[in-house]
């Protein structure tokens, strides 16, 4: 009855082989993550479980107790916090312009293009931008925490804008039209209809941008420079977790390397929490 003959051995073998190769490729893709997490846990957990690790600042002593990472954690939170305050309103504002006003006009396309350009700029170049404009020139020269925040906010801006543009576009046009038809002015449509309905998506995009910025070292190298003692003044040189890890690795002393692993564990946990939060919020998105 069946008109189809069996598949030839050669074809069946090719199929099997190719599928195995693809499977192996996929398995290889998982190896790095497993190994990185394994070693970070193995080498970092010891110091991580010590309370002093979180309550002391790096001592900078060559011998003896190297101290903890309190100043680095608080510095990261503060620098990234300020970057968030700068980048998120501007990023969402740009996306609002693109979706609500610019649409497909020439200027909007130019803006979209340059936001894309910005997202491809290497993070160290953002550091250079801030270095030449704020650190070495002008009346406010010198290294400071807030300058690192600006460098990070440049890095976050395209991430926030692109993610926000996508979710703002998902808000059904019928909602806008309904609000306009009821006589709402444009600004009220944006503030009361568009933004609230897109809120979960906006939060997700912002959280992912924050997670990305928290792990960046390069933009901070010559804007914040680094410090050991705790300072909460954004006008001073500050410490941050990625900088602390980078410097500890380069010292290549066992005790400092141990601290670097434990700091890496701390940083990864912070970033994971942001990622999980982002995923959790995006589940609540009504339109995606």
């Amino acid at each position: 009855m069946s008109a189809l003959g069996p598949i030839s051995t050669r074809r069946r073998l090719t199929d099997k082989t190719a599928r195995t190769v693809v499977l192996i490729g996929a398995a290889i893709a998982l190896i790095p993550l497993v190994l990185v997490l394994f070693y970070v846990l193995k080498r970092g957990l010891g110091a991580f479980l010590n309370v002093d690790f979180f309550t002391q600042d790096p001592s900078g002593r060559f011998l003896g107790n190297p101290g903890g990472i309190r100043s680095a954690i608080l510095g990261t939170i503060e620098i990234v916090g300020l970057a968030t305050i700068i980048a998120i309103p501007i990023g969402i504002g740009l996306a609002l312009y693109l979706v609500e006003f610019g649409k497909n006009s020439l200027f909007a396309r130019v803006v979209r293009y340059f936001v894309d350009v910005l997202s491809g700029v290497p993070s160290i170049v953002f550091g250079l931008f801030i270095y030449i404009t704020l650190v070495v020139s002008g009346a406010i020269s010198g290294f400071a925490g807030w300058k690192g925040s600006i460098a990070l906010s440049l890095l976050m801006l395209p991430i926030v804008t692109r993610a926000s543009e996508v979710v703002l576009n998902l808000v059904p046009n019928e909602l806008r039209e309904a609000a306009l038809a009821l006589g709402s002015p444009r600004w009220r449509v944006v503030a009361r209809v568009v933004l609230p309905s897109a809120l979960p998506g906006l939060v997700t995009g912002s959280l992912l941008a924050i997670a990305r910025a928290a792990g960046e070292t390069a933009p901070l190298l010559f804007t914040v420079l680094g410090a050991k003692a705790l300072t909460l003044n954004l006008g001073d040189q500050m410490n941050s977790l990625p900088l602390q890890i980078f410097n500890d690795v380069r010292e290549a002393q066992d005790r400092l390397v141990d601290r670097a692993w434990a700091s890496a564990l701390t940083l990864i946990l912070m970033i994971l929490i942001l990622n999980v939060a982002a995923r959790f919020v995006s589940r609540r998105n009504r339109f995606a």
Partner: protein, 331 residues
Amino acid sequence: MSATVTARGDDPILGRSPRDRLPDRILQWGLTGLAIAILVLIAYFFYKLIDQSTPVFQQSGVFAFVFDNDWDPSKNIYGAWPLVVGTIVTSALALLLGVPVAVAAAIYVSELCPRPLRGPLTVVIDLLAAVPSVVYGLWGVFVLIPALRPVENWIGHTLSFVPFIGLPDDQTVAGPNYFIAGLILAIMILPITSAIAREVIATVPKEHKEAALALGATRWEMIRMSIIPYARPGIVGGAMLGLGRAIGETIAVTLVIGNAPVIGKNIWDQGYTLAAVIANEFGEAASDKLHTSALLAAGLVLFVLTLVINALARAVVNRRSERRMQVGAAA
């Protein structure tokens, strides 16, 4: 709710006074102004970067700065060729090692894996992007370099006849080297390349796949004949976006490439990249105008390089999506 449904009480909707429309105007022009300000800011940064790197260009010329094979800050000689070569070699290695794995992972996740595994696998691959670059560097220095050294020696000696990979019998690999940097970069570009490949594979029309299967193709023949030709431009674009990332990646590379401003003889030699030189030498350069300017020029070269590659990548990806839209409209 009161009896009126208009937003502004009894005001006639169509007859709003200019004063009532003011908030709308402010919103529209405020947001437009914001967009203009961002463009001006980008232009200003770009101008400043060019302006500040001119001293080194005046000393040797742009061409000589990029192509001279001599980087010696102590003698005020700045020829960035070893750094450019290092950037190209490590990024090429990253593509070579990373893209096949990324594409295989994308194909497996979207076509071959059991459905319940699909979500978790996607999440896990995307999580690679959540690991900070400094952590990859830390892991590279203390785990990858010592663990891979015997393997690298074996490969180098076994393939000693292959140019750039072969290692003379009396030599062993340098701990930090181009290969390790390329491998770390391959891991770092994996999530973005794989994510984009997954997205374009998802856009392959179901009819194409079903047609191949209906004609008696095996799973693999369906992938090879229906999916790969359709998704190829998108995959290429994704790989190029990964390349853009690899070129600009700084911290992980700085930690594992050895930071020797010479062109290595093979991929097991120490080298340097444009981004790494900036990160490393900035501290000592601060007091030396010419050195600072040379590092800014290195940043400019890096910036222009990533601009070109990203523009090409976008062009490739967009051409695909436009064609898809036309096909969709015609159907």
